[in-house]
Symmetry: C2
Subunit: 213 residues, 2 copies
């Protein structure tokens, strides 16, 4: 016999579906929310509903963008709504693309201020082992954009993992016939990294990518 | 400039208010929820709203109980709704109380099947260092119940921490004049515990509580 009220059991079940939240954390969260923080519970619920209704993907680069009701009130037209702030921004080089896996990667790169082109978010990496095929990530959309926009350089900003490597090779193959310069972010020692504690692959890649001083 | 849509920023802000969820985890959760799991986002939101509306505390022992609409549909009267399943259960000894800090502790003890009395949930422990006074936990309510129900034994099922110790001593003092037998859960080596890895306090308490074989 489960002693908790039905609605609490349901809440725990729903919260445990979230990534990195197990049953114990879900119980702790639920306890926090229903015990004396009912206002927090309500505002979390409302922000979840608002976000799930109004957040969409940019029709060009697939970064997040606001769609529908929220923007309408601020006077943006529906046409604009489907583009993200980076794609609308004036002064960005429209012939250089940086390809990333996830929307957060866009923000990470934007923070450096090093890149002034446009992005393309794949929403995944090619990973046969995890059952993610090349048709499940935004590759057709990438080829369409490359063809239509006269893209000159494609920078592969993908993770230095096996899936990242495989996806880079696949995209490289796709772009081979186009007159596009394809580069990938350098791999090597991270800032502050010590040789003593670095793994073999990192050191090997740092050797291969060594730079003339 | 924050590149994320406003509703996503709000969602991240709300999620970071939850215990043990920092800004990075909140971002990861929000990404998961708005990216392709909008149905999960909606069901989490709905279960949060339902729980915050329908979960209350038992008017006797302050364990969770279902209140309001959810129970009404099942035909329970409002009077019943304010009591938890343990307080309504027939056959429980109404003169033995086990005092615990949190509702989850009730469930932990119920799982053992060792206790057949009623509970009293304090919703906190006396902790001057954390600014929790004795009037902020359900002690007045405990004294009222003890006086009205002819309670014979009070078992202190509080954590073996400094706050738990302090609260035990305080309750012991309160009950000194009543003809109530006050006991506390034994402290010592946990099941599977090894002396080599046990701390001094645990070993000391295990010594003091040693049992005749």
């Amino acid at each position: 016999m489960n002693l908790y009220p039905l609605s609490l059991q349901r809440l725990v079940r729903e919260l445990s579906k979230l990534p990195s939240i197990g049953e114990k954390s879900a119980m702790r969260l639920a306890y926090y929310l229903v015990n004396d923080k009912k206002d927090v519970a309500r505002s979390v619920a409302e922000s979840l509903l608002a976000a799930s209704e109004s957040i969409g993907l940019c029709s060009e680069c697939f970064f997040f963008c606001e769609t529908g009701s929220l923007r309408d009130k601020q006077g943006f037209s529906l046409e604009h709504n489907t583009l993200c702030p980076i794609c609308i921004a004036p002064g960005r080089e429209k012939t250089v693309f940086c390809i990333v896996e996830k929307p957060v990667d866009v923000v990470a790169i934007e923070k450096t201020g090093e890149f002034n082109g446009l992005y393309h978010v794949l929403h995944g990496l090619w990973s046969p082992l995890k059952g993610v095929g090349t048709d499940e990530i935004k590759l057709d959309e990438l080829m369409k954009r490359v063809n239509e926009n006269g893209v000159k350089e494609v920078i592969l900003g993908l993770n230095a993992t096996i899936e990242g490597d495989a996806t880079c090779l696949y995209i490289c193959d796709l772009l081979r016939e186009k007159s596009v310069n394809v580069t990938r972010l350098a791999q090597g020692m991270p800032k502050g990294g010590e040789l003593e504690y670095s793994d073999e692959v990192t050191i090997t890649r740092a050797f291969h990518g060594r730079v003339q001083l």
